[in-house]
């Protein structure tokens, strides 16, 4: 292969792949280490929200085991909480999981 552009291309590809692979060789955060804030407060959170603005279930589901918007102001209507199905993960009702285990 005499094409210099092709040689540069191969070099670029290898550098990019090595740079990407080297990221995974870096030491990762210890999964089991203690989180001092959580240790101090006894454990707050778990769900993908940093505020209980809509419901406590969106933030800390062991305090509110399902979305309170399902019962108020009119129980039985489709829940209008915009967080449902719109965040990075969707947690099931807490007690459903407890029954299911």
């Amino acid at each position: 292969m005499n094409n210099p552009r092709a040689c540069w291309f191969i070099l670029f590809t290898f550098v990019l792949l090595i740079a990407t692979a080297s990221y995974f060789s870096l030491p990762s955060e210890e999964e089991t280490s203690i989180d001092s804030f959580q240790h101090w407060t006894g454990g707050i959170g778990l769900a993908p929200s940093v505020s209980p603005a809509w419901t406590f279930f969106s933030m800390t589901p062991n305090i509110e085991v399902f979305c309170e918007n399902e019962l108020w102001p009119i129980p039985g209507l489709p829940c209008y909480n915009p967080n449902h199905g719109a965040l990075v993960v969707e947690l099931p009702p807490f007690e459903r999981a407890a029954i299911g285990e």
């Binding site: 292969m1 094409n3 092709a6 540069w8 291309f9 191969i10 590809t13 990019l16 792949l17 740079a19 990407t20 990221y23 995974f24 990762s28 955060e29 999964e31 089991t32 280490s33 203690i34 989180d35 001092s36 804030f37 959580q38 240790h39 101090w40 407060t41 006894g42 454990g43 707050i44 959170g45 778990l46 993908p48 929200s49 940093v50 505020s51 209980p52 603005a53 809509w54 406590f56 969106s58 933030m59 800390t60 062991n62 305090i63 509110e64 085991v65 399902f66 967080n83 449902h84 719109a86 965040l87 990075v88 993960v89 969707e90 947690l91 099931p92 807490f94 999981a97 407890a98 299911g100």
Partner: protein
Amino acid sequence: MTKSTPADHSNPTTPSSPGDKPGPWSRHFNLVCAAIENLTRNVLVYLIASVALITGLTLLLTTVAVSEGLKTQALRAVRSGADIYCTWDYFGRPGPFPRSEIETLSSIEGVTRTIPRIIGRTQVADELAIVVGIPLHALSDEKLQLSGALPVPNPDRPQVLIGYELARHLNLNVGDRLTLQNVSSIVFQVTGITKTTSSLWSAKAIVCDINEAVILFDEPNHVSDICLYTLTGAERRTQEIVQRTHERVKAQTQEQVRNYVTLGMTLREGVFSGFFILALVLAIGSFSVITYHGFAPRRREIALLKAEGWNTTEIIEMIAVENTFVSFLSTALSLILAIIWVRIFRAAMIAPVLIAELPLFPEMDIPAIFTPLCPVLATLFSLVVTMSGSIYTTWRTATAPVAAALQ
């Protein structure tokens, strides 16, 4: 745009010098060389075609990494929290726990520490913040990374610790005063602000002494829940005893909460599915149209290769090699972009879509873990996109009459 010309393509079955007999590997090697030269000649076309693929993959990798990071941080929170959480059952849902029952729980054999908590919600300016009232005197020996100091019980001048994002939004600093109002109103002094590296759920939290939370919510007879710490290995037995103390007491062990988090976080829905479908549809369509389906010079090039004596298998193999290179490069670029986006820019613009109530440009560290599975899945995804967008159209062109393909 670089003008494509197949003139420099030699037939891969042709020996490089007279007398050489082409082996099976030299034929494949020649096809790989031809594919690389094609890539370098059509680099602009491939760059434009890969934009949708790289954008989709970057979104996808970011979402998967944040999802994994959130799961890991949630599991750390569970591990760092209490051994048993006790709530009081009201109408089939957790309700306030009577303070009169706390003594009963404390006296159970195997319980080493009992921490009652009041967890409530109150409006601070235009934010709804979570208020966590805990007995600060029992936790004074704990170490926590923060700016300022941990609050201490002080009835004359109540103190609070507040989350980084809330402090930033309200423009509060250590030493400032903050009025919280619910049923009652209390003026607190901010003694500490959590760090950007602190737990995600501390971002908008306000932590104060439980006695001040009692005054704030005017609820002297109840707490939100009770955290029990037990002797190692005594969790299950203690849970059974706790639930026998009163038919309304509900107790969840740390193991049950951990199982719940693991189950819940594995069921990825919502944004993840949306991004995945969007990325797949956009990427296949744009790749196909830009590189092969609607790119006339490429069609003519394939037709000329056929006229030169290449067979359909060789052309498809060359295109497959080209797309394999494109897939690896797209994956690597997407991964680097996703890492920069999350680690340096803290998922700016996308953070509130992934984690509710975060600002558009958060300063808190966004939990994200890029597992080695990420690039593997991304490469498979890229291969599906590039191959779907090219192999069929290449085969159609290669099997069509040369004259028709040249038009």
